[in-house]
Structures are given as C-alpha cells and as structure tokens.
Assembly symmetry: C2
Homo-oligomer: 223 residues x 2
Amino acid sequence: MSKALVLLSGGLDSTTVLAIAQSQGFECYALSFDYGQKQRSELVSAKKIAEKFGAVEHRVMRVCLDDIGGSALTDPDLEVPKFEENDEIPITYVPARNTIFLSFALAWAEVLDAQSIFIGVNALDYSGYPDCRPEYIKAYETMANLATKQSVEGDKIQIYTPLISLTKAEIIKQGQALGVDYSMTTTCYQANDKGEACGACDACVLRRKGFEQAAVSDPTHYQ
Amino acid sequence: MSKALVLLSGGLDSTTVLAIAQSQGFECYALSFDYGQKQRSELVSAKKIAEKFGAVEHRVMRVCLDDIGGSALTDPDLEVPKFEENDEIPITYVPARNTIFLSFALAWAEVLDAQSIFIGVNALDYSGYPDCRPEYIKAYETMANLATKQSVEGDKIQIYTPLISLTKAEIIKQGQALGVDYSMTTTCYQANDKGEACGACDACVLRRKGFEQAAVSDPTHYQ
C-alpha cells in the first residue's frame, strides 16, 4: 500500500478527500493545523473523522498564523463577513495558508517516505482564494520536486486535488457514495464550540447551496 | 523606503544578507525560527545581529520541525557528523526547511505589504541541500507569485539570494566591507550554549576554509 498524506481541516471538502484517498487504497496519514482559527471545533471534527476513516495517524500541528494576522479567520478584531457575490478575495483569506500547510505536509511526507499529498482545494464553489487554483497547485508541485532530498533522489512528489474542478453538489454526491457522514464535518468560518454553523458566511452559504443542488438533506447543525 | 523581509538564522551567511539588504536601502524585518534546532545559541546571535543592524522588527517564530524529525539538527538520537567531502546530501538536511521558512516569510511579507524576501542560500560552499539551489529558489518564487492575494493583485514577490553563487571567502569579504562582525555569528551545527563551535561539522569546516581563503583572521569561538 502506498502512503498518502491528507490535509484534513475537518470540513466537508477535506473529509471527502480523505474518503477518496482511502477508497483508492492509500494508507492515509491525516494532518490538521491549529493555526489560531476561530472555528476551533473543526479540529474536534477532524479528530473524529480521522478515526472514523481509519487514518494510520492523525497529527495536529501548531502554526502561528494568528501571530501573523491579516485575516478575519484569525484576528479577533476582524469580523467574519456575511456571504457576498463578487469577484474580490474576501477578508477571510489567510495569508499564504495553503503554502504553509503544504510545506509542513511536504516535510512530514519526506520523513514518512510518502510521495502523495492530498488537498481538498476547489476552484469552483469557493471563496476565491488564490491558493486554491490549479495553476497555484501545479507551481507548488514543481517547486516541491526541487525542494526535498527524496524528490531530487528520484521519488517524485504528487499533489492530488480530486475536488478541484467539481461543484459543491458533485463533491457531496461523491462523498455520500463513499459513506461520508457530513453531520460530522465543520465548515463554518465561525462555528461555535459545539460545531454549530452561523449559516451566513461564505463557507456556510456555499455548503448549503451544495446540499440543495445535490438534492441531499442538509445535516448541518445551525446555531 | 521599500520593506524587505530577511531570513536571519544568526549564521555567517544570513548576517551578511541582512547587511546587504540594509546597504541597499531596504527597511528590514528580520525573521528567525525556533524549529527545535540543537544550536540554540544561533537564536541569541540572531537577536543581537538584528538589533545591531537596526532591523525594524525581529521575530522568532516557533515551528515544530523537531516533531517531524528526520534530521541530525533536530533529532537528539542522530549525531551531527564530521565534515566529509562527497556528493551525498548529509543527515543534517532538514526536510522542507527552507520551503517552510520561506512560506512563513511570504505570509508575514503579505501582512507587512512587503514584496522583497532575502534569503542567504548558497550553492557553492554549502552542504548540498536541494533547497539552496537556484532552480529551487526560482520555482519557489514562481509559486509564491500565484499563492497570495498581494501577488495576484499585481504586487510581485521577489526572492533575493545575493550569496547564491559566491564562495564563502567572497561572502566574508563582502560582509567585512559592510561592517559585519563575524564573531557575533553562530554557524556551527552543534554550537554549545555559549555559541562556541565544534570546528568539525560541515558548517564549521566550510566557514573556517572561507576565512582562510579570504585571508581574514577567523574570529570564531571554538570549544
């Protein structure tokens, strides 16, 4: 069995990705980050989800993105805005978040002798973050294959993004087929300690529309 | 004045880079990492050096590379080897270290609205680490310019590597001309708490040869 490192936030997308990686026969190592996010309950979800899907190991790494700031997801003085339909990158964007997360994944993958990294980025029903786009992921993979001892010695790193061009509804249908229980997942940018969602932020609105379009009953616990 | 973010380990190379960035008129923000390295004294050096060169701010970020392991620089069970002349990447290599460091630099740069990141990598008198080579840095820069809000909105990130093709002797001469006091710097992979060097590891041998070839008296405090 090949090893895969799966970035797992505890949300709808990354949980679906873990289910996909498992279904493809990978031995999965799940990686979450405590980056000072307001939605602390997503880490509780991640732990349960990693256990449910039989990840060999689940690690929560602490990274100090809250000290760096610049995002409504980490700064107590910046309010998480309600959903808005426009082309601007919203204030929930966290500077260099996926770059930092993938870099820790790259380091752990090298120690595990794993060459596969799964990440649940999506460039369709998403918040417009630059580090979710295919061109970014491709450039990251190119860089990663010049960065590490294992890659320069011939074990090429591959970054899998099975959701990147799916709609939220398609993601949900795929996850359902793989037995994902979406009531376990936490998507809301400001979920409370019980994991209950606000229903109004970008993440909540995209998720709810996804369930509607998939004609699947929405199992989210709202506040 | 343009802002620059300077990665500062407290060693000979990064100190020279800080001096270069200052001499080029940048307003410098110095960034060091407590990554569980054995040579703790380099962080003491970094603090003094950032002060001496008038960095606007010096931050030490904690990143858990010691939890990830896989390197003689962080794992107490792996001994730092003596210098050896060969083509293999030595066990002092730290998985994805520069990728992780640059990624935090990228995040902080975005919050500071800085577009310049300086890093003291060198691909001539070095330990053979893949993440010190020009092709790696170029790929990182390409990725960085797809990763952040500031880059996609038109403020291009530039990664400066003023030492990349210099010999250690050339680096020392350049630093001397800029007033660097190398007795303040800590290069040794296993410097003790007083900052005294072992004299035998790769880093020590490359540094000592550099002073010899530059015909500069070696100010290093040896154990």
